[in-house]
Structure formats: structure tokens, C-alpha cells
Amino acid sequence: MQIIYFFAIPLIIMAASFSVNNSKVLGRLNALAYFAILLSTFGLSINFKEPLSFFNFFYVDALSILFLFTISVVAFAAALFSIDYISKDVLSGAISEKKAKTYYLLFNLFSLSMFFVPVANNLGMVWIGIELTTLASAFLVGFYNKKASLEAAWKYIIICSVGIILALFGTIIFYYTASTHAGIRSLNWTEIVSSAKSLNVNIVKVAFLFILVGYGTKAGIAPMHTWLPDAHSQAISPVSAMLSGVLLKTAIYAILRFYVITNICVGAQFSSKLFILFGLISLGIACGFLLVQKHIKRFLAYSSIEHIGVIILGFGLGSGFALYGAFLHIFNHAVTKSLMFFGAANVVKKYKKDNMHAIRGIASAMPFTGLMLILGMFAIAGMPPFSIFFSEIFIAIGGFVKGSYLVTAFYLFFIVVIFGAIIYHLSRILFGKKPQGLAVSHEALSTKMAFIFLFIFICTVGIKVPAFLNTLIMGAVKIVTNN
């Protein structure tokens, strides 16, 4: 029953947020709690041998643990980063002490709902979990209660609700064919997968379209991505990292569960074409907006759309290499993008503006954040020896192995253009002369720890994928290829 920790610990902190009066103490407690969660997911990953099932309600296999581990890594980093970020907001009077406590309450509710998604066996409960992530994070997007953040929160909750309703429609149609053609009166993934062959082919195709468009909205796949840049840029920064790093991935997780069923039932061709199409559209749209973007957090948000495109494309190509690359990319993007959002958060706080044309000389004004952003910039753009380079190359190799030369050529083209856009825009704000009168500042220890913690993952995965992660990814690949 190791998964009990994911639910018990956030609940305890939520209770603590009512009773602890000092928000700084609460922040430290929160970080400590997420360290404990991280240790327990780490334990779960190392000891993983075969799928676990509890009460026929929770089902934990390699795919689940891979996502759980990713969520707990990013959540721990965000919790560490929050300590100083929130206490500075309280000091500067941007938020009240009471609101800081609300922040920790919502933070825990948000991560609780994300932890719930990968462990639920019932596809309906997966849906509930994803809907809860929207509801919990809506207030975090509109946290500062300014005009822009309210607008973003409204768009976020409305667009994602419509998306998620379409996904529920898809789920219902899946349930219809499962109950009529295969005689299963349950939405448990394990049961539907085991008799996926007897589902009706046409109906599964229709249902999968709804699922892909519906959950795809939440995953930020273009052209359903319109809420994403607004929400990610307006959310409170540690949460931007979580939105971008893991929230999108939970929606991908939900799509993957249906992807497995669909592939068994109608063959891999169908979903493969759809994924490749949506992947390329996402890459293309992200590419265009990245070239002309001014706002630093929106810039990172469009970069998330690009990486979601890469992941979807990887699953679409579907050969062993590409799948391995796509799963690895899910983890790599989560850690790298979180690091970038933390950096951007520090920059916005220091310069009090987010227009990239007006920011210069980060490296000299904030040496540590500057250094991390320089390294992170190369990492997110896909430069060796950082981890994203390898997962992107795996996907490219996967494309060539499969013989999809044209698709892979487009993919490489977009990646190269985006590489240029990222290096161009970010190096302009990182280097140069810092504005006069801006004092050199240093970050708090907890903030530095958050950066270094993420950076260790970026480097080590780039040099060699750790054995436990490798086992998990291999396990996940086995699940989606169904052998």
C-alpha cells in the first residue's frame, strides 16, 4: 500500500495550512512533505517488479510509476522554490499572509489530484482526476486577482471544461462498446484492455477521436492549445512550472491509456496518423509563435506546446526507439521546463517586467539564476550533453527506422528553427549590460537547491539514463506496444 503516501501527505499539509500561522514555516513543512513523497515514489520505482492492484480500484504499473515519479520530482522542486518565492510576495505586500496559506492549500489539492490520475484503474475516475486538476489549478492561475490573471483563469477553466466534456463523451462511447460488444460492465482499464479485440472497430475509432481532441485540449496539443499560453504566463510561477511540467503530462497519460486499447482493437495505423498530424501541427504553431514572442513566460509556454508536439509525434511514430524517446522526453521536458520557469520567475520578480525587449543582462544582475538559465536554455533547445537532446534524437532515429522520412524531416526542420529561436531570444536577455541602478542579487538557499536538484536530473539523464528510470521506461514501452 505504498501509494497511500501520495494521498495522506498532501492531506496532512492541507490540514496544516489551516493550523500553522506562519506561511514560511508552512512552506518549509510543505517542501519536507514533498521530499517524503519523492522518497516514496523513488522507493516504488526501485522496487517495481510487477503491476500492483488494490481493491480493484487502484492499478499501478510501470506507466503509472513513470508519471508518478515525474510528478513527484517536479512537485518537490516547486515546493522548494515556493518557500522563498511566496515569502517574498508576502514581504512585498503582493499577497497577504492568509493568501499565502491558501496557496499551500491549493498547491496540495492540485498535486493530490495529479497523483490520483496515474493510479486510478477506472477510466471514469481518471476523468474525474483530470477534471479536478483543472478545478484546483484555476484559482492558482487567477491567484493574483488582476485583470489579466482573471481573464486567463476564465479561459483556462472554460476551454478545458469543454475539452474534458468531449473526453467524457469519448469515454462513454468506449463504455458503450465495452458493455454491448464485449459484455464488460465496468470502466476498469485492465478489464477493457484484456478484451479489447472484441470491441466494435468503428465505434472505437469515433471514441478515440473524441478522447484525443478532449484530453488533447488539456494536454495543450495544437490547435486546441489556446488556453495554454495565457494560463501558463499568468499563473503564480511555481505553479506555472507544475502546469507545464506535469499537468500536461497527466492528460497525455489519459490519452495513452486509450491509445493502448485503440491500438489493440483497430491496429496502430489509425492512432499513428492522428498523432503524427497533431504533433506536426503543434510543432509548426509553436515554431511560428516562438520566433516572434516577446513575453518571457508566454515564450516558455509556447515551448511547452513544442515539446508536447515532440512527445505526441514520438508516440505516433510508434517504433521502439521513438516510444522510448517519447517517454524519456516526458521526464526530460518536465525537469527542464520547470527549471526554466523558476528562472523566469526570478527574472520577472527582479526586473518587475516580462517583456523580453526590455530585459537585459540577467547574467550580471543575478549570477546564479543567470548561470542556470544559460545552461537551461541550451538544455531546453536540445543541445548535447543535456537530456532533451537525446530524447529528441531517439525520436528522430525512431522515425528513420520506421521509414517515415518526410515526417522526420519536418520534425528535424522545426526542431532546428526552434533551437535558433530559443538561443536568439534568451541569449539577448541573458547577456548584455544590466540596467543601471539594478543591484546584483543572490538567491535564497532553498531556491538554489530547487535549481540544482532539477539540474542534476538534466545532466545525469543526459549522460546515462539511471537504471531504475530505464526499467520504468522499458516497462512503459512494453505496455503501450502490448507485449
Binding site: N122, G124, M125, W127, I128, E131, L132, L135, A138, F139, G142, N145, K146, K147, A148, L150, E151, A152, A153, W154, K155, I157, I158, S161, V162, I165, L168, F169, I172, I173, Y175, Y176, S179, T180, R185, S186, L187, N202, I203, V206, P229, D230, S233, Q234, F289, V292, Q293, K294, H295, R298
Partner: protein, 212 residues
Amino acid sequence: MHTYVFLSGILIMTYFMVIAKRLPPLISSFRLQSLFLFLFTVSLAISGGEPSLYVVAGLILILKVILIPTLLLRIIKKIKVNENLGFFMNPQLSLFTALLLTYLSYLFTFRVMNLIDRMQAASFALALCVTLLGLFIMVFRIKALSQIVGLLVMENGLFLTAVTMCRGLPFIVEFSTFLDIFISVIILGVFVYRINTLFTHIDVNKLDNLKG
């Protein structure tokens, strides 16, 4: 026979919502639609469905017929907003589009889904049509509150799909879905309230500062 009456009631109420010009009639039509949905569910439960359908029908009655419309009407009173919905598409054209969407959902039901049972086919087409029209209301009406109502109409359509196609989802899922809807309406209401305080209007077409 009466199931057909209830189904037509649901459809007619949806058309009423499409042509409604002000917020209170929109919400009252939604209340009536939910009432017909409640009656339909009860009739299914009586005609040999599962006992859990009674519970679900009760939830519809409490949440969608009583609580949610009352809550929405109270929000309107409290924020003292202009009650006109604001159209991106005028009522006549909207109704025409609604009829077209109804026809399309029939085509979809018979060509793609290949349903044999006539009763099931009719109700699936209707459910799909209600879902689409909910989306239509969300997209083509200006007031933020009409988006909430559109969302609820979509959910009614989904519920109808679940009930007619598979006699309802597994109970725990159905129950959590209802809870979820209620929470999301409350949260959306809070946001409408905040938007009204900060912007002094709830016209979504004027929420356009974030671009690019």
C-alpha cells in the same frame, strides 16, 4: 410512449435556450430541460433499469433542477448585470443552425454508429444534438453566465448519452461526475463574480487583453 414525450421535451427546451434573449429565460429553460431529463431517467429506472438509476435521478433533481439554477439566478441578482445575453449570431440564424446540427447528429447516428434499436438511435441522436447545442450556446453568446449554462447543457447531453447507451455509467463515476459539476459551477460562479467586480462587465468578447 411517455419516454418519447420526455425526450421531445428535452429537445424543445434546448431550442428554447438557443433562441432565448435574456439570462433568466435561459436558466429557466435549463431548469425545465433538467426536469425532463429527471423524468426520463425515472421512467428508465421504472422500466427495469438498475436501482442506482433512482439515486442518479434524485441527484439530477436536487442539483440540476433545484440547486444550480437557483444559484445562477442568485448570481444574476447579486451582480446586477445587464440581463441581455448578447448574440454573436442572431436568434433566427441560431435556430436554423440548431436544426442543421440536429440533422447532422441524426446522420452521424445512423451512418457512423450503426445503431439498430430505433429507440436507442433516436435518443443517442438527441443526446449528441443537445451536447452540440450546448457547445453552440457557449460559443455564440457573449455573457459569461451563458457559457456556464452551455457547459451544463453539454453535460446534460452527456448524461443522456450515458443513460440511453449503457444504462448509466458505473455508479461511483456517475456520482463523482455530479459532484464535480456542482463544484465547477460554484467555482465558475466565483470567477464570474470576480470578473464583474474587476471589469464591471461579464462580456467575454471584451476579455481580449492576452494575445499572441
